[in-house]
């Protein structure tokens, strides 16, 4: 039995990509969906409260954030050295290391491994990088089944959707929807919206797959250079199943996930689970340092690590943009984001939604496709405040707006720089700066504006789509002040 029969609808088309117009439409649709807004509001309130409860001591949080930021920045400053050290340690441990610059390369490497083993079924632990490269799509196109085993990912795959949250993939689905989905797609299952019963159904179906799968795929939360260790954080045990039971384990990760020492993982792990789901610790922390050794009785016979670039080296080359790579993928920024809470994860149309998605996606996909993303923000600053590794997300959003909207130039820091450049708008802002930058011209302009206020246009582009038109005040502040004296 192939994986496809277990989940009727396979991933048809990549959605890690939306045009600017489609982004506006998706956001509009999402904002006008009261059901979606209620469920995201509830879920985000829940996650925010759980996180807050994990950090009762502000000084401890401050100290842990500074330490975590320091570790990530230290690791990134040494990234090429640490990657080489990681490769050497892993090789010594018997793990095969592969490098891929693009999603297509990464998929080709993994498909090669699958074909060498004549694999029919790959069971997957949760991996956002595998979503980023459209792994399931690539495997299924080549006739290899790829089955998600994280409960949330399994649900999303059954529904033919993409995760709407990086930690809680099926956060947009209600238990009634999931009950319907299970009853429709899993043979012999009757409708039940009892959560325990639904989980037991998932457990039963997926255990059969763990037992027979040829390959297990996982992501990586931290890769330790000194020991050659891949660390995985999870609650369900499916990550352990995928990395332990099948004969081959393939881990795929972005190149930024490496740290130097095992002890560096301790604070990052602590702040990760607390920031993500408000858990003091996850059920499992799985440290993998190699395949089955002679004498050992289980574990995979082969372990592979695929290191993926996909735009990360571009972010790395710029001192400010490099901070993007500090991310440990906790999702706290989306949980606290007023925009994410209102439009949900799917509206963004990118693999990574929310604030983190807005700052990583432009590197992965280029600004041509994503130049509007950094503007999907009120710059309220909540994301930066809760980030466990202190990524200055609002500053990066402003920087990306600048990259997107400045006039195209010869030595851009990013692919697609200037994609959002608009000659007229730029001219307008230049004029505005000229007028407002000099006291004399500003006074003359404001004098004129108050006198010509009746000529203010009633249609003012995007502004009047949802607001009343802007009209200059009848009197200037300076005149009112003068009257008072």
């Amino acid at each position: 039995m192939s994986a496809q029969t277990a989940h009727g609808s396979s991933t048809e088309k990549p959605i890690a990509f939306v045009s600017a117009q489609a982004l506006r439409e998706r956001m509009h649709t999402a904002v006008n969906d009261p059901h979606l807004r209620t469920s995201f509001r509830g879920a985000m309130d829940f996650l925010m409260a759980k996180r807050a409860a994990q950090f009762p001591d502000e000084s401890e949080l401050a100290s842990l954030r500074s330490l975590s930021e320091g570790i990530r920045q230290y690791s990134l400053a040494r990234l090429p050295d640490l990657l080489e050290q990681l490769e050497a340690s892993l090789t010594l441990n018997g793990v095969q290391v592969h490098w891929a610059e693009t999603p297509a390369e990464a998929n080709a490497i993994m498909l090669g491994i699958a074909q060498r083993h004549s694999a029919k079924l790959i069971v997957k632990g949760k991996s956002m990088v595998s979503e980023e490269i459209e792994f399931n799509h690539a495997m299924e196109a080549a006739g290899v089944g790829a089955l998600e085993s994280d409960m949330g990912e399994y649900i999303v795959q059954l529904a033919g959707e993409k995760p709407s949250h990086i930690i809680m993939p099926a956060i947009h689905q209600t238990k009634q929807q999931i009950a319907k989905l299970f009853a429709e797609h899993i043979p012999g299952v009757e409708y039940t919206d009892n959560v325990d019963a639904l989980i037991q159904i998932g457990r039963r179906v997926l255990r059969e797959k763990f037992e027979i799968a040829d390959i297990g795929l996982s992501g990586v939360n931290f890769a330790v250079a000194e020991t050659g260790t891949l660390c995985l954080v999870e609650n369900e045990g499916n990550g352990r199943m995928c990395t332990t039971v099948p004969k081959v384990h393939i881990a795929v990760t972005g190149i930024e996930k490496v740290v130097e020492k095992l002890e560096h993982v301790a604070p990052l792990f602590s702040i990760l689970t607390r920031s993500a789901t408000g858990q003091a610790v996850s059920t499992y922390f799985n440290m993998i340092s190699g395949p089955r050794k002679p004498g050992e009785k289980d574990g995979p016979e082969e372990v592979h690590l695929v290191l993926l670039d996909n735009g990360r080296t571009q972010a790395y080359a710029d001192e400010q943009l490099r901070k993007t790579l500090q991310c440990i993928r906790c999702g706290a920024c989306m949980n606290h984001c007023p925009v994410y809470t209102r439009i949900g994860g799917h509206a963004y149309g990118t693999t990574y939604p929310g604030p983190i998605g807005k700052i990583v996606s432009p590197h992965m996909m280029g600004l041509e496709e994503t130049h509007l993303l950094p503007t999907v923000s009120s710059l309220c600053g909540a994301c930066g405040e809760v980030c466990p590794v202190k990524i200055p997300i609002p500053e990066l959003l402003i920087r990306l707006r600048e990259e997107a909207q400045s006039e195209p130039h010869a030595k851009p820091a990013m692919v697609g720089q200037g994609a959002g450049y608009n000659r007229l708008a730029s001219f307008g802002w230049r004029m505005w700066a000229r007028v407002y930058g000099r006291p004399g011209s500003y006074r003359a302009f404001s004098w004129l504006a108050t006198r010509l206020r009746m000529f203010s246009p009633s249609k003012q582009g995007g502004w009047t789509a949802a607001r009343t038109p802007l009209t200059p005040a009848p009197r200037r502040l300076r005149d009112m002040v003068k009257d008072r004296r």
């Binding site: 040494r78 891929a100 209600t174 325990d196 369900e236 190149i255 002890e263 301790a266 604070p267 059920t283």
Partner: protein
Amino acid sequence: MSARDRILSKLRAGQPAQPLPAPVLDEHFGPRAGTDSPAQRLARFRTGIESFHAEVHITSEAGWPALLARLCADKKVATLLYGADTPAGRRIADAPFAGTTPRAWVGPVEGLKADLFHRIDAGFTQTRGAIAETGTLIVWPSEAEPRTLSLVPPIHFALLDARHIHPTFFDAIRLENWGASLPTNALLISGPSKTADIQQTLAYGAHGPKELVVLVINAEGEPQ
């Protein structure tokens, strides 16, 4: 040039000229190690892991096999899988089981996979120690106690020596110098498997064990 070389050369070109100072972890963790007595550490560990739905029983070096046998009977465990070639394993064969067949793990997993997935009710492992701060067991699978022993059977019995409870994960790594040698698989386990992926509703028994039962010995704490 290979993908590897291209990635590394791009990174080298962008690498900051000055390396950053190595992070200092002791400043953060020093005060957190605290001055808890072994009994206080055990109490913290217990509160933590019980909050994650694990069951904790305080027993003794002499008494744990009998307690294990009784718990197996209570939980209607027909077959208990364990690793025979360990100090604890050697005592299981003589435990007073009633209605439970202890089965020693023999040979590679391929030979008992079907039983492991369908016919074994519980697995027993030793632990390397625990972490007080979070209520976490440290389990290092080995030749004698394979990785799946603590994963596939619906119930996991774990034997913990209370003298090996560390204040934090960091202290365990530091004190036991994990950086120098790690097994092929090392685990931190905090409760039975769980998920909140359906409407944030917590459900236990996701893909791993549905129950985690910890038997604590040497709770009085003094080293032998």
